[in-house]
């Protein structure tokens, strides 16, 4: 016989989990007691939201399922934003929460909250475990559900008596089969053959690749497919890294802050091949004008995404990598599309994604310089706002899983804890959090965690003393009425120092390279406070409700 807590920790180890992120409290004391001296590493964060984001960052960087742990009531509720963030971006994660003893459930007991109910809309599935003997089975199912099909967070709520009670040693887990859960991995062959023939006929095809390509580790197949067919690729925010930034077939990001050439290509294409992407409104702009002249092939693991926002001509339900592999096997001859290629190359020359080199300390310059120094070798995490968009636009990503950002939910405060998680997934790589001065203050307490575990995350604050992205909208669409978006100057280097972290404040463009080099060559964590041009805007931009080719900014002066 073993306690539920012991079964839980052993179950996690059996599952191959090495690191979890958490925060203790009353009802999880038995679990924490079991963690004491356990080979399972636990990272003590400073706020449960950070535990969820760290587990999420760990998952994105490694491809493995991330795990976080919190106590009942306030602890569990603090996880919610992190769970929702993972849900919107389809990130595999297990959230373990303590719960009041089963006898008190439903009694409004101290620190009771109905966390399975609260998180129902933002989890792929959830469990309220009622018996210690169920823990191991639930754990096996939860990892299976979180990590297969369209991935996502699964919550396991563990009442205190369930983890204190004893149960027999769990039986070895067989293959998990759930009658209500059977994701489709292989694409339908006839559909794939139809796709091949549509590609053969297309004069102006474009590939639109999203986070599904990253999730299924399909980047090599995607690149081979593009090279074999000569079809250019534009990626969503979540798809960045699927193809190297400087690959001749890469059109960069599309959508609201995409490149002009990507958006023009979408608007003029006659065949759109969507792979692991979901036609999100930030990508499509006015949906009726998105790829108006194109037949659409949509490859996605989630059948519910097909036809949800846009009617498609040819659906292929399946895993991106498997479908692409199957398509590669069936490709015959390559079609030359000189006119189309010339047109795209002309747009690329005409509307490059550039930043003025005028001696002003502009945020884009910071990103470009960092990009040159790292040469794509490192993990870049971002916060949310202008900082995120400038990074997506100006950092040259070369590998999948090196760009980690909250896309679907757009969660400010995500970056720093996610960067901590990414470090534990890839301790071999330098990890940078590109932050705004607003966002960093949403989870700045994690400086404490970074110091405690000597996590060498470098924090690059693009400090414009504004909630910049909101200010940009106020400038452009609300007549410059900056309602509650100005932030006072904060001494971030001082805050870092108080926690015991080194840092530099940078006030001019000519110090950028030196400061970034200092950060890169420092072994431990480092904070850089770049006092950037305050009213710089993210361009090009598609105003809300416009078609994606109706962009403002981003032209040659």
């Amino acid at each position: 016989m073993k306690t539920g807590a012991k079964i839980l920790i052993e179950g996690l180890l059996k599952q191959g989990v090495t690191t979890i992120f958490g925060y203790p409290g009353g009802v999880v004391l038995p679990i924490y007691d079991e963690l004491y001296g356990s080979p399972l590493r636990h990272i003590l964060v400073r706020h449960e939201q950070a535990a969820a984001h760290a587990a999420d960052g760990y998952a994105r960087a490694s491809g493995k399922t991330g795990v976080c742990l919190a106590t009942s009531g306030p602890g569990a509720c603090n996880l919610v934003t992190g769970i929702a963030t993972a849900y919107m971006d389809s990130i595999p994660m297990i959230a373990l929460t303590g719960q009041v003893p089963t006898a008190l459930l439903g009694n409004d007991a101290f620190q009771e909250s109905d966390i399975t109910g609260i998180t129902m809309p933002v989890t792929k599935h959830s469990y309220l475990v009622k018996k210690a003997e169920d823990i191991d089975t639930v754990l096996g199912e939860a990892f299976h559900i979180a990590g297969t099909g369209r991935q996502g967070p699964v919550l396991i709520d563990l009442p205190k008596d369930v983890v204190t009670n004893e149960a027999p040693e769990p039986k070895p887990r067989g293959e998990i089969s759930l009658r209500g859960y059977n994701p489709t991995f292989k694409g339908h062959i006839r559909q794939i053959e139809k796709a091949i023939s549509m590609i053969g006929e297309a004069e102006r095809p474009v590939i639109y690749a999203g986070g599904g390509v990253i999730a299924s580790d399909a980047s090599p197949e995607l690149i081979r497919f593009a090279e074999a067919t000569g079809i250019p690729i534009t990626t969503t925010l979540m798809g960045i890294g699927a193809i190297p930034c400087d690959h001749p077939l890469n059109l960069g990001m599309l959508g609201m802050h995409g490149t002009r050439y990507a958006n023009y290509a979408i608007t003029e294409c006659d065949l759109l091949i969507a792979i692991g992407a979901r036609f999100d409104d930030r990508v499509t702009g006015r949906i009726q004008s998105f790829a108006p002249n194109a037949e659409i092939i949509h490859i996605d693991i989630d059948p519910a995404e097909i036809g949800k926002n846009k009617v498609v001509d040819l659906p292929i339900v399946g895993d991106s990598r498997m479908v692409l592999t199957c398509m590669l096997d069936r490709l015959t001859g390559r079609k030359e599309r000189t006119t189309w290629n010339n047109k795209i190359n002309h747009w690329k020359v005409e509307y490059p994604m550039s930043c003025p080199d005028d001696g002003v300390l502009r945020p884009q310059l910071v990103i470009k310089t960092l990009s040159d120094l790292l040469n794509g070798e490192g993990i870049i995490v971002s916060e949310v706002g202008q900082n995120q968009m400038w990074t997506a636009q100006h950092f040259c990503f070369r590998h999948p899983r090196t760009w980690i950002t909250s896309g679907g939910l757009g969660t400010m405060g995500y970056g720093l804890p996610a960067a901590m998680g990414a470090h534990f997934a890839r301790p071999d790589l330098p990890v940078f959090d590109i932050a705004g001065d607003g966002s960093i203050q949403m989870n700045i307490q994690e400086f404490g965690t970074i110091v405690q575990y000597d996590i060498p995350v470098k924090v690059v604050i693009l400090n414009n003393m504004y909630l910049g992205m909101v200010r940009q909208w106020q400038e452009l669409f609300y007549d410059r009425r900056y309602s509650y978006t100005e932030l006072p100057s904060v001494d971030f280097v001082g805050i870092a120092a108080a926690y015991g972290i080194d840092g530099i404040r940078v006030d001019s463009a000519d110090q950028v390279k030196e400061a970034l080099t200092a950060a890169i060559t420092t072994d431990g964590p480092f904070v850089l406070d770049f006092r950037v041009e305050r009213e710089e805007n993210v361009f090009p931009m598609v105003p809300a409700g416009a078609a994606i080719n109706e962009m403002i900014g981003g032209q040659k002066e």
Binding site: M120, K124, L178, A304
Partner: protein
């Protein structure tokens, strides 16, 4: 827009109904009726849902239902040969001497049973497709419908086919 009848097999587990109902309200789908009960397999339940929407919306409803882990099978039986029934209890004002005889006559025409006779009211039990219940209720309104209780539609395929095994 058309009312569709979905027969949904689910795991008989705590929370399954709120997962299903929550998905409908969260995604803005309109449930016309929902009836749930045990079924021929002990660990499963069957939910019959009638939902109004155009083809694309109904397609989304079915796909989103299928995504729920506790949902085992979704069958849209709208366009297949099936029988639909609903049961309603209607408490109607029927004073002895005045309207009571008329109400009883209407009940008779609809093959509704009178299952309670009060001093001033009758309770009618009627079974049929929802349209029949609508029609009866409309007729009874002039006498004063004090209470209307409906079970929601349940449905089954005609012949030997079942929604569970296909």
């Amino acid at each position: 827009m058309k009312v569709h009848t979905l027969s949904v097999l689910v795991e008989n587990r705590a929370g399954v109904l709120s997962r299903v109902a929550g998905m409908f309200s969260r995604r803005g789908f309109n449930i016309e009726s929902l009836a749930v009960g045990t079924c021929e397999v002990p660990e499963m339940s069957r939910i019959t849902i009638t939902v109004n929407g155009d083809d694309t919306q109904i397609e989304q409803v079915k796909k989103q239902l299928n995504k729920l882990i506790d949902v085992i099978k979704v069958s849209d039986i709208t366009y297949r040969e099936h029988v639909r029934r609903e049961l309603a209890l209607i408490k109607v004002a029927a004073n002895p001497g005045s309207s009571r005889a008329e109400v009883m006559q209407i009940a008779d025409t609809f093959r509704a049973q009178i299952i309670d006779v009060g001093a001033k009211t009758l309770v009618l039990q009627v079974v049929g497709p929802p349209e029949k219940i609508d029609a009866l209720e409309k007729l009874l309104r002039q006498y004063g419908v004090k209470e209307l209780v409906r079970t929601g539609t349940i449905a089954a395929l005609r012949g030997s086919k079942t929604t569970a095994g296909e």
